[in-house]
């Protein structure tokens, strides 16, 4: 039996097994699922090399599974994040209802994602894509017991639109190019925007929806924030990357052609959509008071950058996109885990209600700090390198200056919400209600810290990610991608040694830390929130002095017109109107038998009258 089939089987059996084990003993469910994921990951990385493939026949179709360097790259994200998220789940999910259901769906989702990347033909791609979708759907609705009508269904409807767009493209590839293999389709030029233009358009639509590109992003914030947190890390970190994976595949034809004029309009439009997604995601993230929602919108924005990078089509741009894909998975995974830890320990993630957790949850704070710096793109952490590459690609290679401004605006505005997240949860005055809070359990801390450390290393040695990324790029049409282990070189030849910079910054940090600690130890006096007076008046017991309320009120007022253009509302109205319209047609079934009989006779008469038009 083929090794890939075995790995998929391990995941499938593990999924069923964890469901069954939950019936016997709830304590072992999480451990089982974690071990299953770990085992399949280990088997995968030890036994499967890229370049591996095998062919088989199903339902009269020639199918192929295998791995290119490109799919291997995404497999890293999937397994890395999944294993950590499952480790994290063990304690996070403890004591919650329906554990078997949760872990079974979780493993099915992993199976679906792995299947997507190992599929070398469109039919298995679609099948696994749908498995991934419905398994994740089960998790999206896990928490929203009573609000099923909107949240989960919205995710499913958008996913279905995307999936069916893909399916349309797939059947036409089969008809026009007589193949279902991805590699053959690319070789035969199926993704050219010259002939049968709807094929790549539909595929891009399908993948774009999963990557939460405007105007189809509306499912993402609610789906991300409603799912259980460990799953959100996968959802935003790995599953949205499947959309990116697909967009990369579609653009392979362009990357191969090595002609910057090719696909110009498609890439420009997609690039702009990505840019707008980034801006809108950021702006909406600013006004969120719930930390989970904030992160969810921020994910949408980050995915926007990646799409921008892919659509530049230059070596630097795609490198930036692939790098960001990994680093986003790392720091956003860590941040969602932070939010989850806070939710677990405090019971809420509403930033207006909690503050000052830094002393209660120092490790969590440390992870949050590192990841938020990475997110904001400040050196020396991982995010910086990706953004640097992206700007460089946009400025030097694609001459799209307006887009540069847009992206730059959005990543600057990202500072605002980064600050709000960090400040809202961890800094500020300690509240009375949070006095009893303790640090999260150790199995939750470990995966978070691992991710934070990766983010730090990636900042100093981005080459560790560049290496597989370069291989992946060669698999989708680039030649001789150059990369450096720990330095960035711009077009003027200046080289920046990232390791050196990191070390310098860390040194400054450590010195400052020692200095401040020594100095602070003696003099610091802790005061309660209400232990102050303004103009001689003591604040009343009920007065809420937390900064978090109306944090960015002026900005919100300034950007009010932007907020009124709400995609969510547009889609919702569309849905409502459609349903009302449907209701009208339903009235044809009047319930009166005689009317039905009349329909029959009228139909007969109409057919007889127009018989020569209809039949010939």
């Amino acid at each position: 039996m083929e090794i890939i089939a075995i790995i998929l089987l391990i995941l499938l059996v593990g999924s069923i097994l964890s469901f069954l084990i939950n019936r016997v003993n709830k304590n072992f469910t999480g451990v089982t699922a974690f071990l299953v994921a770990l085992a399949s990951g280990v088997v995968f990385f030890t036994k499967v090399q890229s370049g591996y493939q095998f062919n088989f026949q199903l339902a009269g179709l020639d199918l192929q599974w295998g791995l290119t360097d490109y799919s291997y790259y995404f497999a890293y994200i999937i397994f890395g994040l999944s294993v950590l998220a499952l480790l994290y789940s063990i304690k996070y999910m403890e004591g919650k209802a329906r554990l078997g259901y949760y872990y079974a769906s979780f493993l099915m989702t992993i199976l679906g994602m792995l299947g997507v990347v190992v599929s070398q033909d469109f039919v298995s791609l679609f099948i696994f894509w749908e498995i991934m979708t419905w398994a994740s759907f089960l998790l999206v609705i896990y928490n929203s017991y009573y609000k099923i009508k909107t949240k989960g269904i919205k995710y499913m409807i958008f996913s279905a639109i995307g999936a069916y767009a893909m399916l349309t493209a797939i059947v036409f590839i089969r008809v026009h190019y007589d193949t279902l293999l991805i590699s053959e389709a690319i070789a035969k030029g199926a993704f050219n925007f010259e002939q049968y233009i709807y094929i790549p358009i539909f595929l891009l639509l399908g993948f774009g929806i999963k990557a939460a590109v405007m105007p189809f992003h509306v499912w993402a914030p609610s789906a991300y924030s409603k799912s259980p947190m460990p799953f959100t890390t996968i959802f935003s970190g790995a599953m949205s990357k499947m959309g990116i994976f697909g967009i990369g595949l579609v653009f392979t034809t362009f990357y191969l052609s090595n002609d910057p004029e090719n696909f110009y309009w498609v890439r420009t439009i997609l690039g702009w959509l990505g840019g707008i997604t980034a801006v809108m995601g950021t702006i909406y993230a600013l006004i969120q008071t719930d930390a989970k929602k904030l992160l969810a919108y921020s994910s949408v924005a980050q995915l926007g950058y990646i799409v921008v990078g892919l659509s530049t089509g230059t070596e630097l741009g795609v490198m930036a996109a692939l790098y960001l894909a990994v680093i986003h998975a790392v720091f956003k995974g860590a941040l969602f885990m932070v939010a989850g830890a806070v939710e677990k320990q405090v019971g809420t993630t509403d930033m207006t209600k909690i503050s000052g957790l830094i002393r209660k949850m120092p490790w969590t704070f440390f992870v949050a700090l590192v990841s938020i710096i990475a997110l904001a793109g400040v050196p020396p952490l991982g995010g910086f390198v990706g953004k640097w590459l992206l700007y460089e690609a946009l400025i030097t290679e694609s001459n799209n200056y307006i887009l540069v401004v847009v992206v730059f605006f959005s990543s600057t505005a990202a500072f605002m919400y980064s600050y709000r997240f960090l400040f809202g949860l961890f800094l500020g005055q300690e509240e009375k209600e949070t006095e009893h809070i303790k640090e999260a359990p150790v199995t939750m801390i470990i995966p978070m810290v691992i991710l934070a450390v990766i983010a730090m290393i990636a900042g100093s040695y981005p080459g560790l990610i560049f290496e597989p990324a370069a291989k992946a790029m060669e698999a989708i049409g680039f030649q001789n991608v150059s990369w450096q282990m720990s330095s960035l070189t711009n077009i003027w030849g200046d080289t920046t040694d990232l390791f050196l910079i990191s070390m310098m910054i860390f040194a400054v940090f450590i010195i400052a830390f020692i200095f401040l600690t020594l100095k602070g130890l003696k003099k610091t006096r802790y005061v309660g929130t209400k232990d102050i007076s303004t103009s001689g008046e003591l604040p009343k017991e009920w007065e809420n002095l937390t900064f978090q309320i109306d944090f960015f009120k002026p900005f919100e007022r300034a950007a009010a017109p932007l907020y009124s253009m709400n995609m969510n509302k547009i889609w919702k109205n569309l849905g409502k109107n459609l349903e009302a319209f449907f209701g009208f047609f339903r009235k044809l079934y009047t319930g009166n038998g005689q009317t039905y009989a009349l329909f029959v006779v009228i139909f007969l008469v109409v057919l007889l009258l127009f018989k020569d038009v209809i039949f010939s």
């Binding site: 339903r586 079934y589 319930g591 009166n592 038998g593 005689q594 009989a597 006779v601």
Partner: protein, 130 residues
Amino acid sequence: MMDFQTLFEQNIEIITIAVYGTAIALIVIGLYAVLMKKHLVKIVIGLSIMDAGIHLLFVAVGYISGGTAPIFSPGSENAATTMVDPVPQALVLTAIVIGFAVTALALSLVIRLYKHHHTANIDQLNSLKW
């Protein structure tokens, strides 16, 4: 005085038209009753009339002018050409039986409906709709 047979054969065209006309008239009357009358029993009667019209049409189609009964008997072995077509008659017999069953069932349903609704107006029987 002409006997019936000759009278029949002389006016065969008129009779043909009359038979076909009656059949079609029956069908139309039946349709009218089913589609326009509101009383359930009238609708069932309409269905039966419509069926009757169709049955008449069947028999009329099978008739051959001057034909004999479709029975082979000694002395008329070569009568096949002059026989009326037996098949439509067989079909009509079957169809009549079926029509009878349907009518009986329909009437029993009408009784049931009247018991429940205390009305036999079809416009008021629309609790299942949309």
